[in-house]
């Protein structure tokens, strides 16, 4: 690639292109005054778009623009069309774009470009693994390339563990390829993300997606065992860090999806709902891991959970629920006072209706 500091206007290799300035035939309302480098590059971009050129030097030019302005979606679009037109190796392209992905992970285009490339790779490989149209330079199958993508995604998430586009791209990739060899590492991956930050909502969401929303894979057919495993997993993580909305949401999600009553979890939840739980026995109870030492108690989410159980039970227990909601509104979760007042009102109305 030519040195970016040399304008295309000064490069003899580009002399055949007619650059088109930004405001040809348009009287600008608010003229953009921009750096000579960007102006020059985009003038030449407009020039080759006009002639419809698709070539290696267009790849250089679009890369240059993308590095200056990763949000220039026309440059991305044209680059993709060029890659296909000149049958450039897409796996090489993916590698080239790795650095840009990590640097500009918050830009939608970065991920959409990869999605397009991966889609093309999978769709243009025949059953023997040979890709038609030289989409790949190596003997790697699309699935192997997808595996490399998972590694790139992990690298990106190491920089920004909750990046929405990155997680969403990972979910798309897994679902699109739907290859067991790609899925099988996911639980370990989520585990490593949660070990780094147990409050990573994206990781919890991903786990739910992998376990419960992407079909049943080899080794996961015993759904009872899977359910049991997940309940133990989330309870252990709640034990580690009780004040973690994501974990409690995950617990509720698992119970709701599997139509399990919340009352099943009362023994586990109860110690989290008070300031000073009874000191646990020396016996390790996997089913009911207690709050870890030093945890801030009571945990509002636990109080809320118990209240939901009491409300569901009905009768006199609804009154117990209202007491818990009152404590949340007045003491443990005052920012949501109005919400807890609503629950109390509803509860009292239910009691009235019963009598």
């Amino acid at each position: 690639m030519s040195s970016p500091s040399v304008l295309y206007a000064e490069q003899p290799e580009w002399a055949d292109v007619i650059p088109i300035p930004q405001y040809e035939n348009v009287e600008p309302l608010a003229p953009i005054l921009y750096t000579p480098e960007y102006k020059d590059a985009t003038d030449y971009f407009r020039g080759i778009v006009k002639t419809g050129e698709k070539s290696q030097r267009v790849l250089s030019l679009t890369e240059h623009i993308i590095r200056l302005n990763p949000a220039h979606y026309s440059a991305w679009q044209y680059r993709y069309e060029t890659l296909l037109a000149i049958k450039a190796p897409l796996d090489v392209e993916l590698k080239l774009m790795d650095e840009i992905a990590i640097k500009h992970m918050k830009t939608y285009q970065v991920w959409h470009h990869r999605r397009l490339l991966m889609t093309h790779l999978l769709r243009n490989t025949d059953s023997t693994g040979i890709d038609k149209g030289s989409s790949s330079s190596s003997t790697q199958s699309p699935t192997q390339i997808a595996s490399s993508e998972l590694t790139l995604i992990a690298r990106t998430l190491a920089e920004d563990s909750k990046n929405y586009h990155t997680w969403s791209y990972r979910q798309w990739l897994l679902a699109f390829f739907n290859d067991d060899s790609l899925w099988e590492r996911e639980l370990d991956f989520v585990d490593s993300m949660l070990n780094a930050d147990v409050r990573n909502n994206s990781a919890w969401h991903h786990r739910f997606f992998v376990v419960f929303q992407s079909g049943v894979r080899e080794g996961e057919q015993n759904r009872d065992r899977v359910l049991k495993r997940e309940l133990i997993y989330v309870k252990q993580n709640i034990s580690l860090a009780p004040n973690n909305a994501s974990a409690w949401n995950y617990l509720r999600g698992v119970l709701d999806l599997n139509k399990l009553p919340y009352s099943n979890l009362v023994t586990f939840v109860q110690p989290y709902s008070v300031s000073h739980p009874d000191t646990p026995s020396d016996l390790v109870d996997l089913e009911n891991p207690p709050p870890s030492r030093g945890a801030q108690l009571p945990c509002p989410a636990a109080i809320e959970f118990l209240a939901d159980v009491y409300e569901k039970e009905g009768g006199d227990n609804v009154l117990k629920a209202t007491e818990l909601w009152k404590s949340l509104g007045s003491e443990h979760d005052t920012i949501r006072k109005r919400y807890w007042e609503f629950r109390v009102k509803e509860g009292l109305r239910a009691i009235q209706a019963q009598s």
Binding site: Y38, L68, Q77, W167, S168, R252
Partner: protein, 328 residues
């Protein structure tokens, strides 16, 4: 720290945007120019200073962004048409009483062409899909009076699949619940009169949970507060008739504390640099919270409520009552 909305300063801030001396930032955001004008204009309307920007200049700019090949609007002259800029263009022209300048048939054709077999919408021919684009398409079609041409069941069918275990919605099927994506899904459902598919108690609770002890709102559990969620979360709650679940005083203080008291504008959080995006959504949030002196904002369309009302498009949302201004 300001304890009230610094309207004159923000008006000035918006007026100065087009005159930015910072070349680099200005040209790197060309792809947002149409959106930026819409954000600026809407904020001005809510603050009661619509005329602070020249109407004719604005209309001319919008029309200069017409992509005649696609039959829709790009973000900037010579940019390809995109649904984001197309919606903003339509919203600007409506607020400026100039919708007659648009070839509506062509725009409708463009929008409908973006719908994918799955029901979601792409942003443009590049093919990126996102529930944001679904909302923008539904919104635009509604504003153009052509919502009847949409396959509602197909569209709603996609949104249903984006519903997550926590009651929220993501950018696509399987994606994490995020307040901005919740807004676009709930907003689209409101326009299509299909809020019936929402798990209202769970989603409303999830939205109420976005409020942090400092009063600000975040977009997902365990993330930082950001002024823009004052709109995404509040508008969704208003649509679901649960706006009173938010501690309005604390959120108001939070938004006001994110103002730049010297140059105007509102930032994502106190101490950061302001930008027109956060200025608009901070002002929008305050309007929904009933802050005195502001015009009503329609949370579904994110446009002045009186404009939407005149078009017969008002839905059943409920903002907080406008408070009377305190006498100083």
């Amino acid at each position: 720290m300001a304890d009230h909305l610094l309207v004159p300063l923000h008006v000035q801030y918006i007026q100065n945007l087009g005159k930015s001396q910072d070349d680099l930032v200005y040209h790197l955001t060309a792809h947002l120019r149409m959106n930026a004008i819409y954000w600026g204009l809407t904020a001005l309307c809510v603050m009661g200073h619509k005329d602070a920007l020249d109407r004719q200049e604005m209309i001319d700019y919008v029309m200069s962004c017409w992509d005649d090949e696609a039959g829709a609007f790009g973000a900037h002259p010579d940019h390809d048409a995109h649904i984001l800029s197309t919606l903003s263009a339509i919203q600007i022209l409506i607020m400026q009483d100039a919708l007659d300048r648009v070839d509506i048939d062509r725009v409708v054709k463009f929008i409908l062409s973006l719908q994918q077999p799955s029901g979601v919408f792409a942003g443009d021919q590049f093919g990126e899909v996102d529930t944001r684009f679904l909302f923008c398409s539904v919104n635009a079609l509604s504003l153009l009076g052509r919502i009847s041409e949409l396959d509602v069941d197909k569209t709603v069918g996609y949104i249903i699949q984006c519903q997550n275990f926590d009651g929220g919605f993501g950018s696509s099927i399987g994606a994490e619940s995020h307040a901005a994506q919740v807004f676009v899904c709930v907003g689209a459902l409101a326009i299509l009169d299909r809020l019936d598919i929402v798990d209202v108690p769970t989603l409303s609770w999830w939205l109420a949970e976005r409020q942090l002890p400092n009063g600000g709102l975040n977009g997902r559990p365990e993330k930082l507060e950001d002024v823009c969620y004052s709109f995404w979360v509040l508008s969704a709650l208003s649509i679901l008739n649960k706006i009173h679940w938010i501690d309005a005083d604390k959120l108001t203080s939070f938004i006001l504390s994110a103002q730049d008291p010297e140059n105007g504008g509102i930032a994502d959080r106190p101490g950061d640099m302001p930008d027109v995006f956060h200025t608009q959504f901070g002002v929008a949030g305050l309007s929904i919270l009933g802050y005195p002196g502001l015009a009503d904002l329609d949370p579904v369309y994110c446009m002045p409520a009186d404009v939407i009302e005149r078009m017969g498009l008002r839905k059943g949302w409920k903002n907080l009552e406008r408070r009377a201004a305190k006498s100083t």
